[in-house]
């Protein structure tokens, strides 16, 4: 499997503060990758580095095997949508299409016009007068019309109502089905990621904490509950991600390794939300594949 993106020791510093440090990560091609983490964790910095908008302070970044620094042409295959879906407010949708077509060599104007018409988006209204949901749809159509092989979306769903979130995600998923592109999108709303993303990357305090196939992560992790007195009966060196004790009961998120737990413990599946929250609460816990796991 090819890697869409490979980071090796990647870091970015603002003054004396590191926004992102020691990021080594390989992301497989053809996936829809969720990028999660608390505010200020480094998500936007990571996306801006991948989009070529920021230069790394240290380390290297490869897109589809090409080092980004040496081959700026690689960026022609990368689409990027900023957090505030910046569209020129006085430009109509038609103006924006013309503008996009002049700037991007691989621009698919027929597809873009067809898709905008199907979505019922008005062609002659200035972008500033569209609703938030319509603006997000226009911005996504513009980003897709470039025909990117990798699409980077910074909080594409923030500030959208549930109907608009569904519409934007449906548009994105249809494009994935048609074009097989790789998507890396950041979001705080885990429920929006459950049925749409198949790979999870969690960053926390400027470091990559989790990277893996979501189905694999969910089947490897279990939530276990039992009496707090039974904590000492757990197998030695059981990988515990998070642990909470409420009165007499203990609740732990663990990676089970096949060893039996004993009769005191009840095991159940964890949801993606529970998995993410447990990791982000414990910045010291990590779930990263070895360097070869993705490249295989």
């Amino acid at each position: 499997m090819t890697s869409a993106m490979e980071m090796s020791g990647l870091g970015r510093r603002y003054g004396r503060t590191w926004a992102l440090r020691d990021c080594s990560l390989a992301l497989p091609e053809g996936r829809v990758i969720a990028l999660v983490g608390p505010n200020g964790a480094g998500k936007s910095t990571l996306l801006s580095l991948a989009a070529g908008l920021l230069r790394p302070s240290e380390g290297t970044l490869r897109l589809f095997g090409e080092p980004l620094r040496d081959r700026p042409s690689t960026l022609a295959r990368v689409g990027y949508m900023a957090q505030d879906t910046a569209l020129y407010p006085t430009f109509t949708v038609t103006d924006l299409l013309t503008f996009g077509g002049r700037l991007n060599p691989g621009w698919d104007d027929g597809w873009a016009r067809d898709r905008l018409a199907r979505l019922g988006l008005p062609a002659h209204v200035p972008a500033g007068r569209l609703s938030g949901g319509q603006r997000a749809q226009v911005a996504l159509v513009l980003a897709l019309a470039k025909r990117p092989r990798l699409l980077l979306l910074d909080e594409p769903l923030a500030s959208l109502d549930p109907v608009a979130r569904h519409d934007v995600m449906a548009l994105l998923m249809e494009a994935v089905a048609e074009a097989g592109l790789t998507v890396l999108l950041s979001s705080h709303i885990i429920s929006d990621l459950v049925d749409t993303c198949d790979w999870l990357v969690a960053v926390n305090q400027g470091r990559v904490q989790v990277s893996g196939d979501i189905d694999d992560l969910l089947s490897a992790h279990k939530l276990i509950t039992g009496p707090r007195e039974a904590l000492h009966t757990l197998p030695a060196r059981l990988p515990v991600v998070g642990q909470r004790v409420n009165g007499r009961q203990a609740l732990l998120l663990v990676r089970l390794d096949g060893r039996p737990l004993g009769p005191d413990w009840t095991v159940r599946d964890a949801s993606l939300d529970e998995l993410v929250v447990n990791y982000l609460r414990q910045p010291g816990s990590c779930a990263l594949p070895g360097p070869t796991a993705v490249a295989r």
Binding site: A170, M173, A177, D195, T196, D198
Partner: protein
């Protein structure tokens, strides 16, 4: 062609919900051999889910011999589920609808009906009728 819908509170994984809905449609005769299933792009444009989830559901149905993928054309129903002819199925459904009307008339609610139906299914299984 059928349309899919999702119940996020069902606790059933999304891919399994798609598998079950195709099987359900096969049992009810809503899908018949030769019918085309919606493409992954059509399903995800309606449901906003990852296309791989749809492909996984279709692969499972293919593994069970219910559908087959024809490259470039789509995924088609190979065989039906359930033994009854469309005529028998319609007759039994009418009888069941009559039974439901009289149950509602006797003051039972939906959960009562489901409990009765499940109990009768278990009785029949014990008697070896099923």
């Amino acid at each position: 062609m059928i349309g899919f819908h999702l119940d996020p509170r069902s606790g059933v994984s999304t891919y399994l919900q798609l598998v079950q809905q195709v099987k359900h449609a096969l049992r009810l005769g809503l899908l018949e051999p030769g019918d085309r299933l919606p493409t992954a792009a059509e399903v995800v444009a309606a449901l906003a889910i990852n296309p791989n989830t749809v492909l996984k559901a279709y692969r499972e149905l293919e593994r069970e011999g219910l559908v087959s993928a024809r490259p470039g054309l789509g995924t088609f129903v190979e065989r039906s589920l359930g033994q009854a002819s469309p005529h028998d199925r319609a007759r039994l459904r009418r009888q069941l609808a009559g039974w439901m009307r009289s149950a509602y008339g006797a003051g039972l609610d939906r959960e009562d009906l489901e409990a009765l139906f499940t109990a009768a299914l278990q009785d029949a299984a014990r008697e070896g009728a099923a």
